[in-house]
């Protein structure tokens, strides 16, 4: 939240906020490309809608608050928020979903708390939670990955489906989700969760067509692409290794323990790492410089908390994926984490740093 408590040496990076945000957006490109290959052109339409909404809302609120609109708009932070929300929303969800979400993220979660640098919660994830709680059905209507889709959808279909709820050939979103047998297909995480609750073992469930090599069909490659983008961010020193490593490490360890104890009732650790939003969340969402912890130890705790909560909610919670909830819950603990993990400054005793 604030940089005051970081101890010396205060080494300065030459990068401006705008440059950092641009790098984040750039690093997300491979993930977005793979996601739109597997889940259709809808991803790009959602992205466009989100970015337009975000910039309009940001400009309007900045003007109302009497700030320099152009300078603040060009720091690209609204762009990154819009991007993260757009890729988290199902690609063929109706247009008003992403518009409501982005407007809420920018206006309420970011600007009402004082703008960039002051928001308690990650705007994209708070908006995602708002949408998921309010509109559970459209928010979980993911299409199966491209190789499993019955109808091939072009760019025109994406626009039609998003704005009218029907593709150009007249299929509704629930028809588009059906497989050859007319059964709606859910996401891999959702399918596994439902099957486990119905008494199937993991192995039996994993034979279904939504699962591919290691994790869901398509989802593995999407996660791999975001992992590549994340490694690029690490190499560019835009983010530090602690949060992503802690997130992935704790998710891996928790699921490894559960899997070793009962491999029939739990997904494998690698399945957890390459399913849903894992890589996107670990590298792009949890590392948000504003709402994450700012101390070195604190970042490890923060990341581990997100990983652990994600495992718990994915395994025992009511929703198939959990990163938005985990990130928001961890955001709440950040002031406490920062308070207890302040580094010792030279010349002071380890206690009573304040």
């Amino acid at each position: 939240m604030s940089f005051k408590i970081a101890s010396s040496p205060h080494q300065h990076s030459q990068k401006t906020t705008a440059q950092l945000m641009k790098l984040v957006a750039l690093a997300a490109l491979p993930g977005i490309a793979v996601q739109s290959y597997f889940f259709g052109y809808g991803v790009l339409v959602q992205l466009l809608l989100a970015i337009i909404t975000a910039l309009l809302c940001e400009a309007a609120v900045l003007a109302l608050r009497g700030k320099k609109v152009k300078a603040k708009l060009l720091d690209h932070s609204a762009l990154v928020t819009a991007l993260l929300l757009a890729v988290a929303i199902p690609s063929y969800a109706p247009w008003w979903l992403v518009v409501i979400g982005t407007a809420f993220a920018i206006i309420v979660v970011k600007q009402l708390y004082g703008g960039l640098g002051n928001n308690l919660f990650n705007p994209a994830m708070a908006a995602y939670v708002l949408l998921l709680v309010s509109f559970p059905l459209p928010m979980t209507s993911w299409l199966p990955a491209a190789p499993l889709q019955q109808q091939s959808l072009g760019p025109a279909d994406a626009v039609c489906t998003i704005f009218t709820n029907f593709s150009c050939s007249g299929y509704s979103i629930s028809q588009l989700r059906q497989d050859a047998d007319g059964i709606s297909m859910a996401t891999p995480l959702d399918t596994l969760k439902t099957d486990l609750s119905q008494g199937y073992t993991t192995e039996e469930s994993m034979k279904k067509p939504v699962f591919g090599w290691l994790s869901g069909e398509g989802w593995f490659w999407v996660n791999l692409a975001y992992l590549a983008g994340g490694l690029f961010l690490l190499q560019q020193k835009v983010i530090q290794w602690r949060i992503p490593v802690a997130v992935l490490g704790s998710l891996f360890s928790f699921s490894l323990i559960a899997w070793l104890i009962s491999p029939d009732a739990n997904a494998s650790p690698l399945f957890q790492l390459f399913s849903g939003a894992t890589m996107l969340a670990a590298f792009f969402i949890a590392t948000d410089p504003v709402s994450a912890s700012t101390t070195e130890k604190g970042r490890l705790v923060f990341g581990a908390l997100i990983g652990g909560l994600t495992f718990v909610i994915r395994s025992y919670g009511g929703y198939p994926d959990a990163f938005a909830f985990a990130v928001m819950l961890a955001n709440m603990t950040v002031p406490l984490i920062d308070y207890y993990t302040q580094p010792r400054t030279y010349g002071h005793k380890s206690k009573g740093v304040r």
């Binding site: 309420v108 708002l130 709680v133 309010s134 509109f135 559970p136 059905l137 459209p138």
Partner: protein, 240 residues
């Protein structure tokens, strides 16, 4: 002499109106009774029902507490007040049970919980136990009205956003003729569930308080032209 006394009284009542409805509003400023405020305001009808019930309770308890204020030993006044409040709430609950059974079921536990509403004991202790019957009753009425207004605003906003109707279920409160009062604003396939769920109550409440503060700030800015004030800037750091 006579005229000034009357004027004083008028001023006192005006002040009570201002305190109850705006300046010291139980919902927006004192933030008392948040539990029912946030829990039952998912529709205008139930908000109005609870608002009226609370108002009635406040009016009666303030009157009774003011009547007995000189006979109650100071040391045990709180238990006595609580007993008065509990009896009044029981009466209201039984009345609602008898005459508005549907609304009684819709509001459920929140009617008996008016007993624990901090506004009621707060007004009894802070105002009614120190003032004559007429001002005390009037204070109860105004505080109750202020609370009911906030409840209704919250209920109306949440109902419009969440379910696209206004005053649905008015017949539970007012009888069958009131079905005509229900307004259908829009028909959506997907309801904005969050507005009806408790988090939506907190959000709308936050916006209401912010709106009130904004209005207050605007009034204050208009009333007070900027004074030239010379103050010394503090340059040394204050460790906290």
């Amino acid at each position: 002499m006579e005229a000034s006394v009357v004027e004083n009284k008028m001023n006192q009542y005006q002040e009570l109106v201002r305190q109850g409805l705006w300046k010291n509003n139980p919902g927006l400023v004192q933030l008392l009774g948040l539990c029912p405020l946030l829990a039952v305001t998912n529709s205008l009808a139930s908000a109005l029902g609870l608002g009226l019930a609370t108002m009635l309770v406040l009016l009666s308890t303030n009157t009774v507490v003011s009547l007995i204020r000189n006979y109650v030993p100071n040391e045990i006044r709180i238990p006595v007040f609580v007993m008065v409040i509990a009896s009044v709430v029981t009466v209201i609950e039984l009345l609602m049970h008898a005459f508005m059974y549907n609304l009684y079921q819709a509001l459920g536990i929140f009617i008996p919980l008016i007993v624990t509403n901090c506004i009621v004991i707060g007004r009894a202790e802070a105002f009614a136990s120190k003032n004559a019957v007429a001002p005390a009753a009037f204070d109860g009425l105004m505080m109750g009205t202020g609370f009911a207004l906030v409840l209704c605003t919250l209920g109306a906003v949440r109902e419009v956003i969440g379910s696209g109707t206004l005053f649905a279920g008015a017949d539970l409160l007012l009888g069958d003729w009131a079905k005509v009062l229900t307004i259908h604003l829009y028909q959506a396939d997907n309801q904005f569930l969050l507005a009806i769920l408790p988090p939506g109550a907190f959000l709308v409440m936050g916006f209401l308080i912010a709106g009130k503060n904004a209005v207050d700030a605007r009034i204050a800015a208009k009333a007070k032209p900027v004074e030239q004030k010379i103050s010394r800037a503090r340059v040394t750091h204050v460790s906290s």
